[in-house]
Amino acid sequence: MKKNTLLNLAVLSLLSLALSACGTVAPLSWPGIHVDEANSRVYVAYQNNITALNSQSGASVWAFPTERDNGFTAFAEPALGDGQLFFGGYNHNFYAVTPANGALEWSFDGAEGQFIASPLVDGERIYASNADHNLYTFDHAGVLLWTFTTTHPQWGKPALGDGVVYISSLNHFLYALDAESGQVLWTLDTGGTLAAGPLLHEGVLYIGSFNSEVLAVDAAGGEVLWRVPTDGWVWGTPAMYEGQLLLGDLSGFLYSLDPASGAQNWTLETGGSITGTPLGLNDSIYVINEAGRVISASLDGAIQWNQDFGTELYGSAVAAGDLILVGQHNNTTTVIAVNESGSRVWAFPSNN
């Protein structure tokens, strides 16, 4: 072989090596986990599959797609409704499958961005926010009913109440739309990026922003009822449990607030960024953080246990009966189920 050819190969190898550092397909998000109402089945969106698991054993029941397809990626939590399972992909497509076997019922390929948000499903419609700045609304047969466009991507799961759908956008705005027509009822500039959707509880919307605050907004008219500062940016949707408004921030604090006034009941420093929604279950509060910890707290904010799972934990802990399910990011294990004492019950895939 000529020396010139060798030199060319050497240079190309070097450049390819450098290039591969950019092109490495690292997970773009964390697992999205949904549990059915019977607490029997878990649906997990992560990387190249939607997987249905037995909630008590972690055994895989089916996977979508059935053959490996590198063009398909999904991370947003699937949603169940009217006998269908719905999820959006990072491949810009939206899908409806049969929950029992994962068979495709219909799909939509008209979006131009990633489905980062989990869809919202009611008896009549499916509301799917997309990073292409659109909210897509379908009926259960997959017919596109209407869209609503914002100036920036929509990453948050919509909320719904009394015929009004509420959506957030990275553009700082909260929107109230007529669920049937998509007409704007009111808008609110919250002053900070909204990476998650609002919680709707008894006519009040609760939402955290990157302006390091949480707001309570009157769902009927869009007036701010109160706003309370947090230590860091708020990513996850707040949760309501036993009369407490719970939320976490990227500084690692877990907050319990009075939902009526925003007054602080207690805070807990967890030691790692919280990106998800806290989980209330059997008089305990569970939260996961970037430091790889699952933390169990009592209703007055005292730590009950603090388990280290060794790798970053993002998103929300989800209940499946008495089990707490946690998605793992950037690891060979996708989901871990722990019991209320913090002991691991199963992991998926099971060989890890």
Binding site: K3, N4, L7, N8, V11, L12, L14, L15, A18, L19, A21, C22, A26, P27, L28, S29, W30, F75, Y90, Q114, I116, A131, H152, P153, W155, L170, N171, G192, T193, A195, S209, F210, N211, S212, W233, L250, S273, T275, E290, Y314, H329
Partner: protein, 253 residues
């Protein structure tokens, strides 16, 4: 590990975005010029070294080595290296300006990805590394610049054309090739190892950079075009100046 570079890069980019009217394209251009100015002394010394290498090839002793060992390639290479060492010159120095671009290019790629944050993990990385007090107000950064979305590969769609033109890719290929040509010392010796390496680089680099421009965010291509134009101008100016330093005197024997 690259966070050591990526985090400051991201902060500077976002700071420039803020003071330049929230224009991310302008921020990338100004940032590229700043990087080129910071690495200017290094580039100058390497360009000088390359020119000295070129001039050495007119040295009578160099020619004598070529003639004497023309039938023994191994010995010829050894003697050439020895000669370079005596003169205090690295024969591969002309390749270095292009090679040092790579860590910077990779850091720039990640900084753009984080700043424009199209995915949750990218936004988390951004949140973790950003130190600007008003960063939350700036989010989300506007990724539009001219006809481009800086977070996506560039294509120009013209109404009268049935296909899109990758304008930036073409500019990247041409300017990379031009820069390689300007920085490569000419050599009349077919056995000259450094010239062979430089020739290889001038062929592979434009292709590789063209590929990167085709598939990676256009913000990265803007960085590379500005960087190339700066490098071409620098090489052109250097060519017009006489060498201020002469090669080191041969070692006494």
């Amino acid at each position: 590990m690259l966070d050591i570079i990526i985090v400051p890069f991201t902060n500077v980019l976002v700071f420039l975005y803020d003071i330049l009217g929230q224009n991310f394209g302008l921020a990338i251009i100004v940032f590229t010029v700043l990087i080129k100015l910071l690495t200017y002394p290094l580039s100058v010394s390497q360009l000088k070294s390359a020119r000295m290498t070129q001039e050495l090839q007119n040295d009578p002793r160099w020619k004598q080595i070529q003639t004497k060992y023309k039938d023994n390639r191994e010995k010829l290479a050894q003697e050439q290296m020895k000669f370079y060492q005596e003169k205090g010159i690295s024969p591969f120095s002309s390749c270095l300006p292009m090679l040092i671009q790579f860590p910077l290019l990779i850091a720039m790629y990640w900084s753009i990805q984080r700043s424009l944050a199209a995915t949750p993990i990218a936004l988390l990385d951004f949140a973790r590394g950003i130190a600007l007090p008003n960063a939350a107000e700036l989010l989300p950064l506007n990724s539009s610049f001219l006809w481009m979305d800086l977070s996506q590969p560039e294509r120009l769609h013209l109404a009268w054309l049935p296909f899109a033109i990758p304008v930036l890719t073409i500019i990247v290929v041409v300017t990379t090739w031009l820069q390689s040509k300007m920085m490569t010392p000419a050599s009349t010796n077919p056995n000259d190892q450094s010239a062979q390496m430089a020739r290889s680089m001038s062929l592979t680099m434009p292709l590789m950079m063209g590929y990167i421009s085709m598939v990676f965010p256009s913000g990265l291509s803007i960085y590379y075009v500005i960087s190339n134009v700066f490098g071409i101008a620098q090489a052109w100016l250097m060519r017009r100046q006489p060498l201020s330093t002469t090669p080191a005197a041969p070692a006494n024997k």
